[in-house]
């Protein structure tokens, strides 16, 4: 079973409503900070995907935007530093004050990727915000992050979950 499917099984457990939900499959681990959950979607604080093998950070940073296109705001590699084993990708916030943006951090020599939503306050301070995804989008996001870590250029159109 794929990592996203395993996560879905965990989310569907009757006692899962909020908190950190963890799922593991094929040597990869996904952790989702769930704020609220229902049958259709989830409000999450952040998503972290980790796999056993390191990867080429530059390739992963190039692969990530295509794999996470469904988030609606295109990610761009901002800093790619193979010597430090990481990269930062962000989407462009629409406005300076109060603008929100996605941030995908690849770290630990390409072993992990973390996705978060941030907002810039009036004082310039950056705060992490929870964001809402449908179950379908959550699954595609986890798949996308996993594929990006594998260096695969684009997620295949997801048919899983559609009945």
């Amino acid at each position: 079973m794929s990592l996203s499917r395993t996560l879905e099984t965990e989310l569907d457990r009757p006692n899962t409503t909020s908190g950190r939900v963890k799922a593991e499959s094929g040597g990869s681990i996904v952790e989702v900070d769930v704020v609220e959950l229902d049958r259709l979607g989830a409000r999450v604080g952040g998503i972290k995907v980790r796999r056993g093998k390191p990867g080429d950070v530059a390739t992963q940073a190039m692969a990530a935007p295509g794999n996470l296109r469904h988030l609606g705001e295109g990610l761009t590699p901002i800093e790619v530093e193979p010597s430090l084993g990481g990269a930062v990708l962000r989407s462009a916030p629409e406005e300076m004050d109060g603008g929100e943006f996605w941030q995908l951090s690849i770290g630990d020599s390409g072993r992990e990727a973390e996705l978060g939503r941030y907002q810039v306050g009036k004082s310039g301070k950056r705060e992490q915000k929870p964001f809402t995804l449908t179950r379908e989008h959550l699954r595609r996001t986890v798949d996308g992050m996993e594929h990006a870590l594998e260096g695969r250029s684009q997620t295949e159109p997801s048919t899983a979950g559609s009945v």
């Binding site: 590699p77 901002i78 800093e79 790619v80 530093e81 010597s83 430090l84 990481g86 990269a87 930062v88 962000r90 462009a92 916030p93 300076m96 603008g99 943006f101 941030q103 941030y118 810039v120 306050g121 004082s123 310039g124 301070k125 950056r126």
Partner: protein, 361 residues
């Protein structure tokens, strides 16, 4: 003072007033940097018009002589002209003058230099008189005075018919004397984060900041050296042009820049002889907490003890402000040598300059 000198002085006063009134605008104007010469800067002043003579018959007899009643709007119809438009006036202001204006407007105290050794600088001044010299430097008054003395001594001067005719021996010329003035030496080391998160807007802000800092410090120190360091995950020393043009896509390791700046100072600028200034500009997104700790360590042990001041300017990007400013605030809450400034946009440059230079260090 001749009439033309009076007019020129009055014009300069108007320009000065204009620059003063709109200093905030000029300080944040990127356009102005392109007009910078070696010792002067051209400032566009659109509101000032130079009076000029217009030839022709004076038939109209002044303004407001046409048809229509007072207050009646002028017919706005018409076509665009095919003639070139008038350009706004540009006034040349010397950097020295500009520094004086900044100093007065921002109420910046004169810097109190430190260092035991003063560097001697030679400056030529036309204070002497010589018997030989080029005609362009002939001192007319002294020449005639000499001729008068000679004529009186020879008894050829008639007060009823006061004609003075200088001969070759009467001629006097201006000559210069070289005055040796002691002055203090200073070095500024500019450091800039050029990692992927620093965009063109942020670099423009840094460029303007450095221009004003340079102008002020040059006004205070005759012997001023500037060094430039750029860094992403690695630091390197570059020339001024490269400093402002380079953009990298790498990560940010601030400690690399601090390490290199420290090496340069230790190798070339003994603290006893030099006034040392560090300025670092970044968006504050350092790669890791461990690198923040390294920076704090370098500052505490090596850089702050030798520096007149260390200015850190954190430039906001679309992605907000990074953590590094807070790291420095937390680690150096009361250190007068470390001056921190957050620069959210171009309009904040003036306040930031005041923060950096307002302590007279």
């Amino acid at each position: 003072m001749s009439i033309i000198d009076k007019d020129l002085d009055r014009f300069k006063e108007i320009v000065r007033g204009k620059v003063r009134r709109e200093l905030r605008k000029y300080m944040s104007s990127r356009e102005m940097l392109g007009r910078q010469g070696k010792k002067t800067v051209s400032i566009p002043i659109p509101d000032i018009q130079i009076p000029r003579l217009r030839y022709g018959k004076n038939e109209q007899g002044g303004v407001g002589q046409g048809e229509g009643d007072e207050g009646e709007p002028v017919d706005g119809e018409g076509q665009a002209s095919d003639k070139p438009g008038e350009h706004s006036l540009e006034a040349e202001v010397s950097l020295e003058e500009l520094a004086r204006i900044i100093g007065e407007e921002l109420e910046l105290p004169r810097i109190q230099p430190r260092g035991s050794r003063q560097v001697d600088s030679a400056k030529a001044r036309y204070t002497g008189i010589s018997l030989v010299g080029p005609e362009s430097l002939r001192h007319t008054r002294r020449t005639y005075k000499q001729a008068l003395k000679r004529q009186i001594a020879l008894g050829t001067y008639d007060p009823r018919r006061p004609v003075i005719i200088p001969i070759k021996e009467d001629r006097r010329y201006r000559s210069w004397k070289v005055a040796v003035e002691p002055s203090f030496a200073a070095v500024i080391i500019y450091m800039m984060d050029v990692s992927g998160s620093m965009g063109q807007k942020q670099k423009d802000i840094v460029r303007l900041e450095t221009f004003w800092i340079d102008t002020w410090l040059q006004h205070n120190y005759r012997n001023l050296e500037t060094r430039f360091i750029i860094h992403d995950a690695k630091a390197r020393e570059v020339d001024r042009d490269t400093f402002f043009r380079t953009r990298e896509s790498g990560g940010t390791l601030i400690s690399t820049a601090y390490g290199l700046a420290n090496q340069i100072v230790q190798a070339e600028y003994p603290v006893t002889d030099w006034n040392i200034y560090f300025f670092h500009f970044s968006d504050g997104d350092n790669w890791s907490g461990s690198d923040n700790n390294k920076c704090v360590d370098l500052l505490k042990k090596h850089m702050l003890p030798v520096a007149n001041m260390f200015g850190y300017g954190q430039v906001d990007s679309h992605y907000g402000s990074g953590r590094f400013l807070h790291v420095l605030k937390e680690n150096f809450p009361d250190d007068q040598r470390l001056i921190l400034s957050r620069i959210p946009n171009r309009e904040a440059i003036m306040d930031s300059i005041r923060e950096f230079l307002g302590k007279g260090r």
